[in-house]
């Protein structure tokens, strides 16, 4: 009974506080693509994602009803940081769909042009002025948005003097973005300004740390149940050393948490929905590292400071390679150690039965690609006259006089190809009940190798995984001078996924190997299922920028990098890493083996 009354009471208050949807709300998701494009078009940085922002406590005055209902304590404001353009997950502050869409576009545009330095008000005013002066369409919608925003804001007459003063200043700054306005800090924060970016430059109010932490690979591999794209503010906390503790953990108890209690606990994986909802209610999630993949069911994006690296894991001498630090814009020399291991013990194998039919089909398709001289006779036009056809045409009156030319095509190809396959743990993820990503990658390697030996091009096969910068492992399946045979088929059959994806280092080492080739065309094909990532600071934008740098160096050496990915959601960053023309996404991983060989046919046409 109490439950029913409580629920009824909550619904009544929520309705009174005006939290019910009014039909004019707009979700971020369907607008993501458009807003990302607008952001880049107006000069925003490339390679940033468009993401939902974390709600932050604004501390502004709320009505009694709002406070009783426990609503409107947080606000979602737009902002941009090193990883993403962050926008509210839902825009519903204004009455119409048009106004809320316009708000999204305005926030996006402002994020693209707002100056980095200056006070909160000045930065927003300067950005606003820039947009008003240069973009007529945005200017028109700005004045409509200002009207709506002013209507939404509290009337200064109803506020205590200090707050009224601040409110008047904000209204003045909105109406006249070119006028000088200073905001005297009062005891209470002013009502958030939706047309402006969040006060803190990093995107979230009052939270300095907002670097993204991607879930580690083991977590990603296991999480197919839930994809929760919402960002949450996170803080670091140490894992308690002693197991157990006084507090028994039940997921529903998270409702009552607002502070982290330093107790080790087990999460019951079947209650992920409750967890996600509960996580929304927390201001800050405390995260600590332990060795067990308990977080599988709950995949979240956290605004979280990157963890520091924990030192070397391998003392063996290895190849030292640099790494690009985009934050400092320097190339760190001899920063990564790469070790190349071979598989001497792999037993010789024939091509697996399951691939035989596919291989035969590809063989026929690729046979045409083998370098040779082709003469096409009896053409309607061509480089030379086909004398046979001409004589026959002249002597045999029934024959067609037109097709008396011949085309000569020399398919001279001088090509070396290095295939670099991602063998990180994320490839252990299941695609279907029987198939994992790694199985697809293995079959791709097999069929690709068969195809390449058909076309008689020089090729090498490598796989890679990493465990921080001192342990980047490359597995040599076949080097350029090795003939393709049953032993190599055996090695391919034995590959196993491990650890992480430090792609920059693997690309550099592969480039070095490929650069030694004398061929006219040198193709570096990268086969991966996700973005660069390692379990130190090498994640998010850092890994992306390092890989991008490694690839541009490869291009400067005259190599042609190309990426094939099975990551379905990778479109955000792939053009930034590889360039618009240098990657392809295979939507259905099971098609990868065949697509790869056909792609090769197209690439080397």
């Amino acid at each position: 009974m109490e439950e029913h009354v409580g629920l009824w009471w909550h619904q009544l208050l929520t309705r009174m506080a005006g939290q019910k949807g009014h039909g004019g709300s707009v979700a971020l998701d369907p607008m993501r693509g458009e807003l990302g494009l607008l952001f880049r078009a107006l000069g925003g940085a490339h390679g940033l994602k468009v993401d939902a922002t974390a709600g932050t406590r604004h501390g502004a005055r709320r009505s009694v009803i709002e406070r009783m209902a426990g609503v409107r304590a947080k606000v979602e404001l737009a902002g941009v940081d090193a990883q993403a353009l962050r926008l509210p997950g839902l825009a519903d502050a204004y009455a119409t769909v048009e106004l809320n869409q316009a708000l999204y576009r305005w926030q996006t545009a402002l994020c693209a042009v707002v100056p980095e330095h200056g006070s909160w008000v000045t930065r927003n005013q300067q950005g606003t002025m820039h947009l008003l002066e240069n973009y007529r369409g945005l200017a028109a919608s700005y004045w409509q948005l200002v009207q709506a925003e002013l209507q939404r804001r509290p009337d200064p007459a109803t506020l205590p003097p200090a707050e009224a003063q601040a409110e008047r200043s904000i209204r003045q700054a909105l109406r006249h973005p070119d006028s000088a306005v200073t905001l005297i800090p009062g005891a209470r924060a002013p009502e958030p300004v939706l047309l402006w970016l969040a006060p803190d430059a990093r995107g979230a109010m009052g939270v300095a740390r907002s670097q993204a932490m991607e879930p580690d690979e083991a977590t990603r591999a296991g999480s197919s149940k839930q994809q929760d794209e919402k960002r949450r503010v996170a803080e670091d906390a140490d894992m308690p050393e002693r197991p157990g503790g006084l507090m028994m953990f039940r997921p529903e108890s998270i409702f009552s948490w607002s502070e982290y209690a330093k107790v080790q606990h087990d999460v019951q994986e079947n209650e992920e929905e409750d967890l996600a909802r509960a996580a929304d209610d927390l201001d800050t999630l405390s995260v600590s590292a332990d060795q067990r993949p308990v977080a599988r069911a709950l995949r979240m994006n956290l605004d979280h400071a990157a963890r520091e690296e924990t030192g070397p894991t391998s003392a063996e001498p290895a190849i030292l390679l640099p790494e690009w630090d985009y934050k400092r814009q320097v190339l760190l020399p001899a920063h990564c150690s790469v070790r190349i291991s071979s598989m001497p013990d792999a037993p010789a194998r024939a091509l697996p039965e399951r691939l035989r039919q596919e291989q035969r089909r590809l063989h026929h398709q690729l046979a045409m690609l083998a370098p040779e001289r082709q003469v096409r006779r009896r053409q309607s036009h061509g480089d030379e006259i086909d004398l046979d056809a001409l004589i026959r045409a002249r002597t045999d009156s029934g024959s067609d006089q037109q097709d008396c030319y011949q085309q000569v095509r020399r398919n001279q190809r001088d090509l070396s190809c290095l295939l670099l396959a991602d063998l990180s743990l994320s490839t252990d993820a299941a695609i279907s009940e029987k198939l994992r990503v790694i199985d697809v990658i293995r079959d791709s390697l097999s069929l690709f190798a068969e195809s390449l030996s058909d076309t008689r091009d020089r090729f090498a096969l490598y796989g890679f995984s990493s465990r921080q910068r001192h342990a980047v492992n490359m597995v040599e399946l076949k080097h350029f001078d090795e003939p393709f045979n049953a032993r190599i088929r055996g090695r391919i059959e034995q590959i196993k996924p491990a650890f992480y994806t430090r792609m920059g280092a693997a690309v550099r080492q592969s480039s070095a190997l490929l650069a030694k080739e004398k061929s006219r065309e040198r193709l570096l094909l990268i086969l991966t299922d996700g973005k660069p990532n390692d379990n130190d600071y090498y994640e998010g934008r850092y890994g992306i920028e390092d890989t991008r740098y490694a690839l541009s160096e490869a291009r400067k050496q005259g190599l042609r990098p190309f990426c094939v990915t099975v990551d379905q959601t990778a479109e955000d960053y792939l053009p930034h890493i590889f360039g618009k023309h240098s990657f392809t996404i295979v939507k259905r991983p099971a098609e990868l083996p065949r697509r790869l060989a056909l792609l090769y046919a197209q690439l080397t046409r």
Binding site: L37, R136, Q401, G558
Partner: protein
């Protein structure tokens, strides 16, 4: 088929071209020194117009060949055709340019097959000869002859880049989109559109260029901008003109068209 346009110059009709740097002087010096020239830069930034302008200025006939996948050496040099009385030879544009002491302009040279461009080697070094095997003939290029090729480094087709050895035979002039003020001036000059509107179009083009390589395959060039301005001068609604003259030209993806039209809307307004 080969696209061939023969531009016969008269003193009066020198195509308008606004010089950005010293490219006019360099081109003249290269011509006098019998050096071939490579023009590189994005599509629609004025490379072709520049060559037309220079040919007219130097009073040389211009032979323009748009290169493509199927272009063969015979398409450049010439071939035997079958007539009523037997076969006869027809010169290709390159041979014509050599014989007439003209300028042969190979547009987008990277699009041509590698075995096609081999015939250019002996013409682009100091030998300046064109061997025609099928006629058993070696043509020596007169001093007035000039070879000009263009190449778009941004247009990265995986296997299509110019070989370093080919590139090093040419004097290279790098082109880029003109700065905003100059581009506005060019659009106004070519079409007579109102200056304020031209400014907005230039802002739009520059915004789209920011997204090139990430969202778009290719940035809209000045040429597209001029086309849009022409439509507007004809009375076309500016938004519509931008859609048909620019947006639909840079992408075929309906989703992308919609998103780009939002950018148009943001910049031009209603």
């Amino acid at each position: 088929m080969t696209l061939l346009s023969l531009h016969k110059p008269h003193a009066s009709d020198i195509p308008a071209y606004v010089a950005v740097d010293q490219e006019v002087e360099v081109f003249q010096m290269a011509w006098r020194s019998h050096l071939p020239v490579l023009l590189k830069g994005p599509t629609g930034c004025g490379k072709t117009r520049f060559v037309e302008h220079m040919a007219a200025r130097l009073k040389r006939p211009l032979f323009t060949v748009s290169c493509h996948d199927d272009l063969s050496a015979a398409d450049l040099v010439g071939r035997h055709l079958i007539g009523a009385d037997g076969t006869y030879w027809v010169d290709g544009p390159l041979t014509q340019a050599v014989r007439q002491g003209g300028i042969c302009y190979l547009d987008e040279i990277v699009e041509a097959r590698k075995d096609t461009t081999v015939v250019l080697h002996s013409l682009s070094d100091d030998r300046r000869i064109l061997p025609i095997d099928r006629l058993g003939l070696v043509l020596e290029a007169p001093p007035e002859f000039m070879l000009v090729v263009s190449y778009n480094p941004g247009y990265q087709h995986l296997m299509k880049a110019l070989k370093p050895s080919t590139r090093q035979r040419f004097v290279s002039l790098a082109f880029d989109f003109p700065d905003a003020a100059l581009e506005q001036q060019i659009v106004v000059g070519e079409t007579g559109i109102a200056s304020a509107l031209a400014k907005q179009l230039v802002t739009l083009a520059r915004a789209l260029r920011q997204t090139a390589d990430h969202d778009l395959e290719e940035a809209p060039g000045t040429r597209l901008l001029v086309d849009v301005a022409r439509l507007i001068v004809q009375g076309c609604n500016p938004q519509l003109a931008c859609r048909v003259g620019m947006i639909e030209c840079v992408t075929d993806d309906p989703e992308m068209v919609r998103a780009l039209m939002q950018v148009v809307q943001a910049i031009l307004g209603d």
